[in-house]
Symmetry: C2
Subunit: 210 residues, 2 copies
Amino acid sequence: MNEASPVLRKSAATRQRVLDAAARIFRERGYAATTLGDIAEAAGLRTASLYYHFESKEELVEEVLRIGTTLVSDAVRRAVEDLPAEADFRTRLTVAIATHLDALLRLTDYTSADIRIIGHVPPEVRAKVWPLREAYGEFWQELLRSGRANGAIRAGADLGLLRVLILGTLNYASEWYKPGLKPVGAIAAEATAMVLDGILAPSAMHRQPA
Amino acid sequence: MNEASPVLRKSAATRQRVLDAAARIFRERGYAATTLGDIAEAAGLRTASLYYHFESKEELVEEVLRIGTTLVSDAVRRAVEDLPAEADFRTRLTVAIATHLDALLRLTDYTSADIRIIGHVPPEVRAKVWPLREAYGEFWQELLRSGRANGAIRAGADLGLLRVLILGTLNYASEWYKPGLKPVGAIAAEATAMVLDGILAPSAMHRQPA
DNA sequence: CCTATTTTCTAACTAAAATTAGATAGAAAT
DNA sequence: ATTTCTATCTAATTTTAGTTAGAAAATAGG
């Protein structure tokens, strides 16, 4: 059978079905409320057969989390890096927000499962996938740093705090978003407008209450 | 025993201890990962004794959620209503954000438990407490409506979308906040600045990329 | 075809956790 | 003191879900 062969093992397809089902159901119901039976049924096999592909429920969810973080991280990095070198901060942040939300809300159950359950998986699992998340956070931090270096971001801001506030704004959408109500692009536009310019009317006086 | 008597039942104190313990542990570990044994131990009694005070785990968590929503809702309503009648939108939103974050991060485990687990409790439980949450959401919606009526909020904005974006920004803090790192007031100030004015430096050109 | 390997299945097993039953101690009232 | 509720306990029950063991299909090569 030649494990290193270019031919896919037949089990690869099953493993993929299991992961897809797991991502979807974890996202819908949360970690603890999802049983291996639920996942097996959705993937079209028996509960015990899952153990041929994964050592445990924890290993399965770990893989889902890993994929979820990787998908959004790769997509956002690529989208930003593909911008022309002279693109300004406003453009770069706009693209980063749009791509992050697209991965989270439209593209993949893995990322929404990741965001929704990361705080509810066993600590050992969280610890294992943490470095990946930190690296993605560091990408955003660097994006903001470059924005402040350019003078685009107001000087007094705590960038670490801004980062978690912005990502919170985006990530919390996985709690309320329902497909079909509003295109993801429109949500991204409104979020970008708020983060960059705030919600006030441009004419309004600066700082002072009336 | 005279149930309507002004004298507190001795069980009221125990019930309160159980609720306090439940709120704290639900917040820390999530709904499904919290056992009645954990709660009982923290409250200083035996698992079975919980059933004297609550019919089931679901009824217990429902009460925690109800209290959590009520506490933050009442605090924010009161703080905003206590402002002078002529207070402008900027002031009202600043106070609403500060009070919401204070309830969520500093005051009470009930509210943080509520926010963290509402998406992970059994659907029947969520349905029962939903009206309370909707009412609180409606308060924010009305706050934003008044802001737009005043011309304070930019005209094109989708207020429903703005509302969930703002509350998402605030609520997601329950996922990353750790006491001691930064005073809650400083977090509120940064969040308010972002929501109202955005993160860009005031001098920067409007709209156009460089 | 025959055989070895991969994949999935059926059937236990185990452990944890929610819940129930019924006994007991404590407080308050007659 | 005796009786009556209130509150908590110990001990069992039940259910659910993760996991393991080992037998059977299915698949691929020779």
